[in-house]
Structures are given as C-alpha cells and as structure tokens.
Amino acid sequence: MHTLSAIEIRDKFLRGEVSAVSIVETFLKRIERYDGEIGSFLSVFNERALAKAKALDDKRKSGVKMGKLAGIPIAIKDNIHVKGEITTCASKFLINYRAIFDSTAVRLIEEEDGIIIGKTNLDEFAMGSSTENSALQKTRNPWNLKCVPGGTSGGSAAAVAARLCPLALGSDTGGSVRLPASFCGVIGFKPTYGRVSRFGLVAHGSSLDQIGPLANSSADTALLMEVIGRHCEKDATSYSGPLENYLEGIDKGIKGMRVGVPWKFLDKLAEEPKQIFTNSIEVLKKLGAEIVNIDLSILKYSLAVYYILSTAEASSNLARFDGIRYGVRSPNAQTLDEVYDQSKENGFGPEVKRRILLGTYVLSAGYKDAYYKKAQQVRTLIIRSYQEAFKKCDLIASPVSPFTAFEIGAMKDPLQMYLEDIYTIGINLAGVPAISVPQGFAKDGKPLGLQLIGPQKQDGRVLMAAQAFEKATHHLLIPELVK
C-alpha cells in the first residue's frame, strides 16, 4: 500500500478493493514503526483519522459521490490550524494552543474526503532551513539519519519521503517546502502567491507565505492543488482566478517549450550538483524543450532583500504572541510589562528572537528608509527581472539548493544557514510558482532537487513540466531504511 501514489490509493478505495480504515491503519502502523527514529510527527491523530475513515467507508457503501481526496491520509505542518487540535508552530510558546477554527486549506481537504492523520514538525514559527530550530523535537532525514531533513517543512517532507503518509501540507516563505523536498527526495510545490488561502496559517512573512503540497508524484501534487488552490474571502491577498484542473493537462509534455537557465547566477555551484543539474537540462532537451540563457544576476541581492523584508514582517506578525490572549504566560510575571517580556523570553527560541530583533531594527526610526524601503525597491527590480526573463522563456530551471542535506548540528552560523536558500528565495519575492522535483543522488546517496519556475498564475505549466521530468527520470525512490 505505502508504495502506491495518493491517486492509486484513492482509486483502490473507490473501487472497493480496500477500506479507508485499512488504509489509515497501514499508515498508522508505519508511523508507529518508523517515526520513533525519524521524528517527523509532532502529533498523530489515531482516533480522529480512524473515525473519519469509518465514516468514509459508510459513505462509500451508501453510494454517495465521493470527494477528490477520498481515503487519502494527509499530514499537516504544525503551523496550519486543524480545528480542535493543538497548533504548536514547534514553539514552547504555543505548546497548549488548541485551534478554534480550521484553516481554509484543511477545511477544503476535509470537504473532499481527505483524512487528516497528524501534524508535522518544523523550525519554530517556520524560521530556519533545517528543522533544527524546532523547540520540540529533532527530525531526521530518512535517507541518512545523521542528516537534517531541510526546513522549515522538514516534518512533512520526511513523512512523505518515508511513506508515512502519501501527501502532506507545508508552508513556504523563502523555500520552506522546496528545500526539504530536495533534501528528502520528494516533490514540493510553492504555488503562485495568493493561489492558496493563508487563512489559518500562522503568519511569518505575510507578503511571502504560501501553503504548498509535498508528495511522491507530480500528479498527486496537482490533485491536492486542485482542492486547495481556490479563492478565499477570508484572505485579502487571495486572488480570484478561476478554479483550475491541474490534472487534466498534466501529461501534455514540454515539447517546444523554452526553458531559461540563469547560468551566470549559478556559476558558484560546486562540481557535483552542477553535473547533476546539467544532466537534468539534457533530459529537458530530450523532452523537446529549447534551452535559453537568461539573466537573473539581480538575484545576488535576493537574500539581503529577503532577510530585511521577512524579518520586518515577522517582527510585526509575532508581536501578537504576548501571553495575554493565548499561549504560555510566564507564571512569575507580576506586572503587564513582565508578562510580555518574560512570556516571550521563555517562549521563543534563539532564532525567533534574533529575527524579531533584526526586523525591529530594520523598521526602527532612522533606519526604515535605508533598509526596509530600499529592500522593497530592489524587490521591484527582482519582480521586473523575472518578467523580463519570462519574455524569453516559458519556464526557468535551476537547482533548489547549492548542496545536499548536511549533518545535524553542522551548520552553526546563522548567516551560513540563510545562504542555503539562495536559489529559492527570489521566487517568493516575485510571487511566482516553483516546484522541487528529484533530479538524482549525490555520490553519498543523498537526493537533490531540480527547481522548475513558472510565471505568476501558471501553476499548471509548472506541474506539467514536473510531470514530464518525473516520467522521464526515475529518482523518486523509497529510502532503504523504510522499505
């Protein structure tokens, strides 16, 4: 069962070959068996998932039309609300916070008969690149337990890679779905900004955040996007484009498409990842794509722009965690100021504090124009550069990360950790869709991803290209550990 795609599992269920209860039991058993070592889940909803499965079995027998995700167990990153369940954001501050409403993405999944199976680990408040910033537990890479799964959606990526669930939701502010997908050898998709509602996603950088799927096939990714990619009136930045049938055209192929490669921007890439990336470009050529050189040299500024804007937005967004209305209030606080100071001091980890302070700095009087405004101006230039590039090509290809998963504890300098995201961050700044699709393995056996990027609102084109690449290669493998 666990070797099947989400679509195959659903179809078996719909044909009556397997019950929803036995699907859920299979994956719960796998979680029980393997997740002690991997640590991808923060909470597993045994009872809830089995009750939903039982209801779905009854529904199917009654002959009622079933939803698109019928019988598919889906894991949710623990910064996305599931009503009635704890949302920790992997922070000590929210250790007891029980969501009082559903996120739109979760509501849509349940309306289409998907089964929420549990919540997955992340870097605290989705700040990091390795999931090591989780205040609650370590998550290990199923390809190599000494290594990180990438971050910040590391729990979701590791769970999907280890086949503990066929599908998961992550969130991506600067690469947080694509980087762990690359490190864990699965598919991770960051939709166009505004395609998936952010309602019920705990905000990090509101102008950058998008919820996105992690999966073991492009078609499964497209299926989940069909369900969650729709307008939502509870998110003012949700765009009101029509519903799209991403699955319908997914097999069209990329013959005749122009794929742009920013070679100059990639010149610092090390030998091995460069070789693997070059091989991928050859695959795209064989599939009939025309490769063109594009200029995205502006992206050398993307990291600087990102760390000004994302921390500025985070410092504002995280001000709500003050210990008054929810979260852990410091028991020793005697005055109101002490409630704020001590609750945050005890509740937040070092990276969260660092980013709030940096964000406060770039927004503070006397510095705002030099940092924040300047960064927004350079962001305009980055958006324009992508627009120019997309006049010459239909898609852009690049690596997801300069390297494969690193060992837990190896990356000590925060700035070095930030540089991890150099190839993924520009995409969030420009609001365009991008996917990480496995493109092979380094000599040490660790996977790495190819990034395919489309113009705004061309999410379907990106999924189609990923599908063509996936079918022409065979890199979506199951780690030895969990076979």
Binding site: Y97, Y193, I308, D322, L336, K353, S364, Q377, T380
Partner: protein
C-alpha cells in the same frame, strides 16, 4: 560596516518587549552585526526612480463588503486558550496599582 553597540541591542530588546539575558544580548549583537553587514550589500545598487514594491500581484484590489454583522466566535470558545480569565474576561496583572 555598521557597528552595533550594547545600547542598540538593549533598545531593540525594549522595543520588541522580549526579555533577554546579558549573555543572549551579547550573542545577538554579534549575529546582528554579521547579518546587517551582509544586507548592506544593497548599498551598491541604484534604485533611483524605482517604486517600492507594494504587492507582488498587480491585479489585487481592496476587498470590501457590506457592513453587516456576521457570525463571530462564541466568547467561551475564544477564552478557552486564555492563560488566565475571570468572569468571561481575560485577566491581566493590574496596570494601575491601588494604594
């Protein structure tokens, strides 16, 4: 490169209302110096006449609706997560102390 002083960090700690030990402030000072040093890379780029980005999508507009009272969360549901409550309200330490 911008020099950070202990006072800068102290002020940021105060502005963001995060309690922070002396040792933590020292570590943060060094990190901030490094990160801000890095983002000063932006100084070399000319942005004269470039408008600051307001939104990445160019076809968004204000979302308006009629001013009609809708459903809201029941008080007990909202209060379920409050760390301290009294008589249907959130309890906080006294802001003004009585004599």
């Amino acid at each position: 490169m911008k020099k950070f002083t202990k006072e800068t960090v102290k002020n940021l700690v105060k502005l963001s209302r995060i309690g922070c030990s002396e040792e933590e402030q020292e570590a943060i000072l060094q990190d901030l110096e490094k990160i801000v040093g890095y983002v000063e890379l932006l100084e070399e780029i000319d942005v004269t006449d470039v408008p600051p980005c307001k939104h990445v999508l160019d076809d968004l507009f204000n979302v308006l609706r009629d001013d009609i009272v809708g459903e809201s969360l029941p008080r007990d549901v909202f209060l379920a997560n409050a760390p301290s409550q009294i008589g249907g309200m959130i309890r906080v330490p006294p802001v003004i102390k009585s004599k």
